[in-house]
Symmetry: C2
Subunit: 269 residues, 2 copies
């Protein structure tokens, strides 16, 4: 057994180990299911000239863009999320955006890093899904091993500078009693999207065809279930794309930044 | 201005004053809107031989029968709800049940009281409605000044001794965002029915025709609203009626026991 395969085994429980095998280029795929119990984050890296606008955008749209960490200008470190953590290498795969298009999907951004960049770590629904599952709530997309269904809504984010556009939401079908319990559980986790923003009437938030998600995979809704909608961390990525910035970097879909912060540390009360 | 009319004015803000004008027989009608900020309770008075069963019934069905107070056998006092409080006189109107039928509706039960009786005070939705309204949530039945719509469900209460039967629920139509906020608010008030027990799919809980409530008045549901259902304090009264007890006393509908306990004291966290 070589060092990499030992680390891969550890990675399923240890955030430090998964960051290590991301850093050495061994782990290049989705992080779902790794390091259970620890916060995984959406990543956005922007030139400093845009960082203030983006920071205000996050503050104004806390349900879609709940900040769990932010670097100093030019520093690839976010110590509160992991002392060793390096945003240039610790995500399995990145998206490099040029003029609003994905230019490449590298496994590290060492060569692209500069003293002018600022990194934003934004909460992710994995944290609250873990809380739902540990409360006995079955999530169909998890059981069926496909991506959560996500939709653009008619809910406009509060703009800041060049950043504006609709909120993207994720949808999980739940029987009403579980939907009520899910409101209780996720209300306690405002740093990872918090309470649902909508239940039951997709047309009210501009979703025309629930069977046709804009991102992710369709999820069946049974006759005894309601669709429950949470603000989604895809929002900031969609907003960055829509702003057609000259240059930006994000994580590739599903390839999250795995942190040392326990999910339990995000529970508000 | 005589003493009674002064007390009637005070009664709109002071629980002690409304109990006083109930006690002297001046106030004989519904208590809704009086003594805002204070807990009003459903009342059930039973012979001691049935009190243990009823107590276990309440404990087993805390959402429908949240106990806020219980007397000692033979004592008409529940000091934790008001030092002067006397369950023989302090409710505007009572229902005396004989063999499962309403035998009379007196304004006091002084002559019916005995050393063998036990009084149960059970939380009421007025407390959480006040919390919803103070959070800016509009309740249509309040705005339109009619009774809340209530329904028998197919949810069986957990039985105890002779007490068994279906849960009765109250329904308030809310837009989804308000429904989510209402879950948050009422989750914090377990002593007054707590979180909703159902949202959105009345047939799932055995409600065939939402326009035909079993108790109270119909409430319109707009196309952008969901019906939200809470366990209701009418449940214990319906259960007592169904048990066809030889003798029992309850409050008359809407004529609640007004207590000195602030609604705020029921907020769990």
């Amino acid at each position: 057994m070589n060092i990499s395969s030992t680390l891969q085994e550890q990675a399923f429980s240890d955030p430090l180990a998964i960051r290590a095998i991301c850093r050495n280029g061994v782990w290049k795929r989705e992080t779902s299911g790794t390091a259970p119990g620890y916060v995984q984050a959406n990543l956005a890296i922007l030139p400093s000239a845009l960082a203030d606008d983006f920071l205000r955008f996050c503050v104004r749209n806390p349900k879609a863009c709940p900040l769990v960490g932010i670097s100093e200008k030019g520093s690839p470190r976010i110590p509160e999320l992991g002392l060793d953590l390096d945003v240039r290498t610790d995500v399995p795969r990145y998206r490099v955006w040029k003029d609003g298009e994905v230019a490449e999907e590298p496994t590290n951004i060492r060569d692209l890093w500069s003293d002018d960049l600022v990194a934003f770590a934004i909460g992710c629904s994995f944290s609250f899904e873990e809380a739902l599952i540990s409360n006995g709530i079955r999530l169909r997309h998890v059981a069926e091993r496909h991506n959560v269904a996500m939709y653009r809504t008619n809910i406009e984010c509060v703009p800041a500078g060049p950043f504006s556009g609709p909120m993207v939401v994720s949808m999980r079908p739940l029987v009403p009693a579980d939907a009520i319990r899910a409101v209780q559980i996720t209300s306690r986790m405002p740093a990872v999207h918090g309470a649902p923003i909508h239940i039951g009437l997709p047309a009210s938030i501009g979703i025309v065809d629930i069977e046709q998600p804009d991102y992710g995979d369709p999820t069946r809704i049974m006759p005894d279930e309601l669709p429950v909608f949470w603000a989604c961390g895809v929002t900031p990525q969609a907003i960055i794309e829509a702003a057609r910035l000259k240059f930006a970097i994000t994580h590739a879909p599903g390839c999250m930044l795995v942190t040392d912060k326990p999910n339990a540390a995000l529970v508000a009360f």
